[in-house]
């Protein structure tokens, strides 16, 4: 039985540079708080956008649907919160520590998870993430239900006072852009081409002499580390690390963001993250209806709208986005 693999349905488009669009996106993001948008909201959305981009690296370019990516977001969050609060590390070092911790966890989880494909891979990541969740629920340093509160912000790189909202905003934006560009570079590198080859036809890639397991593991670890970068940054923004970031609902949320924006598109995860976070922010008073609306969007995307917003736009404009 042959099935269409879960992957972007990108039209064969003439190679055109995305650089102007990337520049435009950064410019728009940079002026948002100056236009009166609540900076805290934009920072949250940026962290989730980076998280979704990291997730998209796996699903969009390797064809692996991780249903446990919250473990990387949360691990980095706890690690950096602990580093900043208990060890008193500077914010940039805390974020670096969190990112490395998630990367290391990514290697371990990857070693187990990439032994299986498709649905088995998804369930394995989900179950391992739940194991991590229970570990954090009980571990002393995470303070369980209480979470780590009052994480200090301090001076970024020793000079930038990130207790000021606007300074913090541009630091977060810079981190996001750095992560985004790293992903963009990766998927357009020879390494990225091999990943795409694995996604299209793994046996063929193997017969061409590629050790696909190694490539998949590397991609998994990179995705985990970048998800960690998002989680660590998010902790410095919100000044707390909590179980919410490691729950399986969070793993589902990042799938939703990417699906809404467009699987395997460059800008899709960013668009999706902003839409979902805006929804949560501005519909918060409707309580659990937000959950219902998210579910409806999920179903609608899967049934009728598999390309996502950016994917549809790319089809209309006949170019890669």
């Amino acid at each position: 039985m042959t099935t269409t693999p879960i992957k972007p349905v990108s039209p064969a488009a003439p190679e055109r540079s995305e650089t102007p669009i990337i520049m435009g996106m950064i410019a728009v993001l940079a002026v948002l708080p100056l236009l009166g948008v609540y900076p805290y909201f934009v920072m949250q959305a940026l962290c989730f956008a980076l998280f979704a981009c990291a997730f998209n690296l796996l699903i969009g370019y390797v064809g692996l649907l991780s249903f446990g990516h919250a473990m990387f977001l949360g691990t980095a969050g706890y690690a950096s919160a602990h580093a900043a609060k208990v060890w008193g590390l500077a914010p940039e070092l805390s974020i670096l520590f969190g990112t490395l911790a998630s990367g290391a966890l990514g290697v371990l989880v990857g070693l187990i998870a990439i032994r299986r494909q498709g649905i088995y891979f998804s369930m394995t990541t989900l179950a391992l993430a739940q194991m991590i969740y229970f570990f954090y629920l009980q571990a002393k340093f995470t303070h369980g239900e209480d979470g780590i509160q009052g994480v200090p912000r301090g001076l970024f790189l020793g000079v930038l006072d990130i207790s000021k909202p606007l300074v913090l905003f541009y630091v977060v934006l810079a981190i996001f852009v750095a992560g985004f560009l790293l992903i963009y570079r990766t998927i357009n590198s020879p390494f990225g081409e091999i990943l795409k080859a694995i996604r299209e036809n793994e046996p063929r890639a193997i017969s061409l002499g590629y050790r696909t397991a190694r490539y998949k593991l590397a991609a998994f670890a990179l995705s985990a580390a970048l998800a960690g970068l998002a989680g660590a940054t998010k902790v410095i923004v919100s000044q707390n690390a909590s179980l919410t970031d490691v729950r399986w609902e969070m793993s589902g949320e990042v799938v939703l963001m990417t699906l809404v924006g467009g699987l395997g598109t460059i800008f899709g995860p960013v668009v999706g993250a902003f839409i979902i976070i805006a929804m949560q922010q501005y519909l918060a008073e409707f309580g659990q209806w937000v959950l219902v609306i998210q579910g409806v969007i999920f179903v609608a995307c899967v049934l009728a709208f598999r390309r996502g917003i950016v994917g549809e736009a790319a089809k209309v404009l006949r170019r890669n986005l």
């Binding site: 805290y40 369980g144 209480d146 979470g147 909590s242 919410t244 309580g287 659990q288």
Partner: protein
């Protein structure tokens, strides 16, 4: 439109600086509570109602004040609570946050209130840390705390022969604090603690925890949890025949709503400590009548809801005494500390320098079904703990605000 109006206001303010600021009688307060979870019966919609009643009863509107009330559900998650509190401060410009059940959320919001200089009057959280290690010049802790529960219930149970304990503890700040404070009391009264097991917040199945407690052979199984967790544990203890086999439960924190939902048959004889009971005196009865008439489910108020009412009343008094709203949390809390408290629900009292509001505590026992004469007639008063003994003595407070 909005800009031009505020520009006008700004111009007016610049033209008449003194008058414009002196007349600032706009106040915005928020009730942040568990609206849908296991503590929703303890706080929830009743908390919002209590706040509304306090605003109405204060008569502030007639004196030219404009009091806005907003509310939100923190879902018992500290991160949700912190984000809401921060957003309220940044965007809604609230002056004070009230309620905040669940110790973990309460401690987290405590930090935001200090950072944003809000008034923060907690009624619902149990942890005594709020007025000890985590005390803040912005915070008043109103209704009860773990020190009171431990000294009220814990001491009474040990003195009546329950001298060996096993704890079933909710695994977060509240359960830890309650277990810690109760253990101190048990040891001080020559009792011993044989062990404890921690269960996750909002557990459904207590069977394996209860079996561990049973195997410990302790005389008393101390329930260091609250709300839905307590009611589930009590129910299952009776299902597994634990209460029938010689071991006794001690519900360290039991609310009116818990007794109401479990019924007297299952809760009779339990001793516990509260600071408010609807049927305590004429003042509490009058308030509770008005309250339950307006509740959808006609429930009587819990002590948490009563605390929200009383704390807002006191805040309003302080605002009135100040003449205008300074939008300054520390200043208003200082003002409140300088004024004695007096309301129909908790009687006369005061707010101590560490933010602890003191009033008497009451040791109650749940009546037997045949002793209950009318709907809601659940409690029998066993002992009254005077206000100056009910809470941590000031000289033992770990709060830096207390001058020693």
């Amino acid at each position: 439109m909005k800009t031009s109006v505020s520009t006008l206001a700004l111009m007016a303010a610049l033209a008449l600086p003194g008058a414009a600021f002196a007349q600032d009688k706009n106040v915005k307060i928020g009730v942040l509570d568990d609206m849908s979870g296991l503590y929703a019966d303890v706080g929830g919609q009743g908390s919002i109602l209590a706040a509304q009643m306090a605003i109405e009863d204060s008569g502030m509107a007639a004196k030219g004040w404009k009091i806005d009330l907003i509310s939100a559900d923190h879902q018992n998650k500290p991160d949700v609570g912190v984000n809401l509190a921060r957003q309220w401060a940044d965007q809604e410009k609230v002056d004070g946050i009230f309620g905040v059940l669940t110790s973990s959320v309460a401690l987290a919001v405590n930090g935001v209130a200090k950072e944003k200089n809000l008034v923060y009057m907690n009624s619902g959280a149990a942890t005594s840390d709020l007025t000890n290690s985590a005390c803040s010049p912005n915070t008043v802790h109103w209704t009860y705390d773990t020190y009171l529960l431990a000294n009220g219930t814990g001491k009474a149970v040990v003195k009546s022969g329950g001298d060996s304990w096993f704890f079933l503890t909710a695994d977060y700040a509240f359960g830890h604090a309650l277990e810690r404070d109760t253990t101190d009391v048990i040891k001080a009264n020559n009792g011993k603690v044989l062990g404890s097991v921690r269960h996750p917040l909002n557990s459904a199945d207590f069977s394996s925890f209860l079996l561990q407690a049973q195997a410990s052979k302790a005389k008393i199984i101390g329930l260091a949890n609250a709300g839905g967790d307590t009611t589930n544990a009590i129910k299952q203890a009776s299902e597994f025949g634990i209460t029938g086999s010689g071991q006794q439960l001690a519900a360290l924190l039991l609310f009116y709503s818990d007794v109401h939902s479990l019924g007297l048959k299952m809760t009779q004889g339990l001793q516990f400590t509260e600071t408010f009971y609807w049927d305590l005196n004429d003042g509490t009865r009058a308030f509770s009548k008005r309250f339950s008439d307006r509740m959808k489910n006609k429930n009587q108020p819990t002590m948490v809801q009563a605390g929200i009412y009383a704390s807002i009343i006191h805040y309003m008094k302080a605002l009135e005494a100040n003449g205008s709203n300074p939008h300054d949390g520390v200043k208003m809390v200082e003002k409140m500390k300088s004024m004695p408290t007096d309301d129909a629900l908790f009687g006369k009292g005061e707010i101590q320098p560490n933010g602890r509001k003191i009033h008497p505590g009451y040791l109650f026992e749940v009546k037997k079904p045949q002793e209950s004469k009318y709907p809601g007639d659940y409690y029998k008063l066993i002992a009254t703990i005077p206000a100056n003994e009910a809470f941590t003595p000031l000289d033992k407070s770990a709060c830096a605000l207390v001058k020693k």
